[in-house]
Amino acid sequence: MDVVLLPLVNGLTQAAVLFMIAAGLTLIYGVLHVINFAHGSFVMLGSYLTMFFFVGKFETVTGLFLFIFVSSIIIALIGWAMEVFVLRKMYKADEFYMVLATYAILLMIEGGVEKYWGSSPLSLPLPASLNTTISILGISVPLFSILICVIGLAVMFLLWYMMNHTNLGKIIRAAAADQTMTNSLGVNVPALFTVVFIIGIFLAAFAGGLLAPTVALLPNMGVNIVIQAFVVVVVGGLGNINGALIAAVLIGVLDSFLGFYVPVLTGITFYIVMAIILMIRPQGLLGKA
């Protein structure tokens, strides 16, 4: 049983974090048509800022989640400034210039973190009460992994509720479908862009905060994970949150099982799955043809 349950929980944990990052990426792409190169650096910043507030100050379970949330808010505000002062001036330009602009922001964030915290790996200690396992069907499963899965589910539900049962969600979906029409109906599209970007960056920073207690903190730590998030976005269908969810779970779980049973495939499963799915459905699982 442990040879099924453990890879499953590990895969779902990976999927939960990936979904949060990919949902932000795909949401920003769907509405703003911006492929945010700097997304990974916001994940990394979420980890570092959570560590900055948490270590040596209020090292409890409450403190950890409080600081993850506070850090995500602060980083979302940085995202707000980025959208208003940088991206807004470039929407009319070719997307390639947007890629360069977001890449420049990535370099600035990574450089800033390296300058302030150095390039040596750092660590955020997980509170002792979370640094344990719980028994599920007689198998020891890390408690924090379960918590990340639960939080991932909660984020998924909140996003689904927001997109389907709130005015903001309706406007976002409308803007993603037809920006000109949305604008002519009196919706303040620039303000909507800012809100969407803030939500996306908040999700990235929040995922970074959740990751922080489980990995070494390094200035370039966002790179690998954002590459995987890009794969999830493409496989799910560009701009499609539901697709990102299905892709994150599918790829996360497959990668975990293959890594467990065929260790030689660890790390490349993502690309194998992406290649197979895109050969069958070039537009991604739920993308529009």
Binding site: V99, L106, E114, S119, V215, A216, N220, V264
Partner: protein, 413 residues
């Protein structure tokens, strides 16, 4: 159709993936990649180059190595330089990439550098011989551990001041068989690239030779730079080893330790051996540090000699922390150069190579010698027994073992 228009998002995504995989992984360094020059009149200064990863996944290692070199240059200049000539240290970031390593050598030789130290990554070290020979330059590798550097890829222009994978891991097998002969079921948990395989091969082959009851119950090969080790941890535990050997280092070793802790991984083992923890891992983990035997280039408490006392004192004065094995090796390399240049009374590369071959010299770890045939330094291997405790640091060094390098040198081919 526009090349980068919204009609073509996949092309754009592809471009981004390519850039992320090639560009970002070798993070730009801000001021670190700039030359670090000493003050004063540099017209007649003897230029020595430091090349190493100053950014990216192992940037912290390179930064530490640079500190050791900078301190050595400062002390050498305070004491009158080399043959009365002031030393100027110029540094370049290799970002851990062979391509950037080659470029770093080219750039610095353009500025008049013929003598180099540093190099974190074995991949970079293995790429350098052609450019060094072309530029008539010389390097002392001060961290990269692949045996091939002073083995099958031997170059007359490359010396290694630090130990190699064969020495480090053969010494581990000898030491831990002697200390724990009752531990027969071993597992491997090492990164799936050259250094990881070279480390495990040396340990595994030596254990097979000396321990008749030795048995490998599991080999786990996570990717270098992985962010998730949980499946590897679970599969190693499922094999029920008594002891685990690991060649993970830097960020990977920290991530693995953090993800292993909830499984009570380390308490289910009688012994965990990490062949490369220069204090960076213990310091980062702090109160989360697990019990282990760590292999190091150097430890300040392992040696009681005048050179070490001076190094520790000056290092603490300058950087406010104790030195580690990444600091020590570049520091020692600069003094080895000083001794060789003063002996040779020449800066000519061929003469220096001849002088360094077989040269014995004092260092912070006692006497070292460059083996004439392969340019590998014969130096001690230091092993530290680390145990968690209730101090502010979160851990203590419970025991130190020193294995003389002469006992574990790779046989010459």
């Amino acid at each position: 159709m526009k090349l980068f228009g919204s009609k073509n998002p996949f092309l754009l995504i592809f471009l981004i993936l390519v850039l992320l995989l090639t560009g970002c992984s070798s993070n730009q360094s801000s001021t670190n990649s700039e030359d670090t020059k000493s003050e004063g009149d540099n017209k007649k200064a003897l230029k020595i180059g430091f090349i190493g990863a100053l950014s990216g996944a192992v940037g912290g290692v390179g930064q530490d190595m640079l500190k050791g070199a900078e301190l050595a240059v400062e002390i050498i200049n305070e004491e009158g330089g080399i043959n009365g000539q002031e030393v100027e240290l110029l540094s370049k970031d290799t970002k851990g990439n062979p391509k950037d390593g080659i470029q770093a050598v080219r750039d610095l030789t353009q500025e008049g550098v013929k003598i180099f130290t540093g190099v974190v990554s074995s991949g970079v070290a293995l790429a350098l011989p052609p450019v060094l020979e072309q530029e008539d330059a010389l390097i002392m590798i001060a961290a990269a551990g692949d045996d091939a550097i002073t083995g099958e890829n031997f170059s007359p222009n490359v010396f290694r001041i630090s130990d190699n994978a064969y020495m480090r891991n053969t010494s581990a097998a000898n030491l831990f068989y002697e200390k724990y002969p009752e531990l027969t079921k071993w597992a491997n948990f090492s990164p799936d690239y050259a250094y990881g395989h070279a480390s495990w091969d040396a340990f595994n082959n030596q254990m097979k030779k000396i321990n008749p009851k030795y048995e490998v119950v599991k080999e786990s090969w996570p990717k270098f730079g992985a962010t998730d080790f949980k499946n590897d941890i679970a599969s190693v535990l499922a094999a029920k080893p008594q002891a685990v050997f690991s060649a993970l280092y830097s960020g990977d070793a920290i991530t693995m330790s953090k993800q292993a802790a909830p499984y009570d991984f380390f308490n289910q083992l009688d012994l965990f051996v990490l062949n490369s923890n220069e204090g960076d891992i213990s310091s980062a983990l702090g109160k989360e540090m697990h019990p282990e035997w760590s292999g190091v280039h150097y430890h300040p408490e392992a040696y009681d000699n005048e050179l070490n006392k001076k190094f520790v004192e000056k290092f603490k004065e300058k950087y406010k922390v104790e030195p580690n094995g990444y600091n020590s090796e570049t520091y020692v390399s600069l003094f080895a150069y000083k001794e060789a240049i003063e002996k040779a009374k020449s800066l000519e590369t061929k003469t220096l190579i001849k002088t360094l071959e077989g040269m014995k010299f004092d260092s912070v770890t006692g006497t070292r010698e460059f083996r004439k045939e392969d340019h590998q330094a014969i130096k001690d291997i230091v092993w530290l027994k680390i145990e968690p405790d209730n101090s502010d640091k979160g851990w203590k060094i419970a025991d130190i073992e020193i294995v003389p390098g002469s006992e574990v040198m790779a046989p010459l081919k």
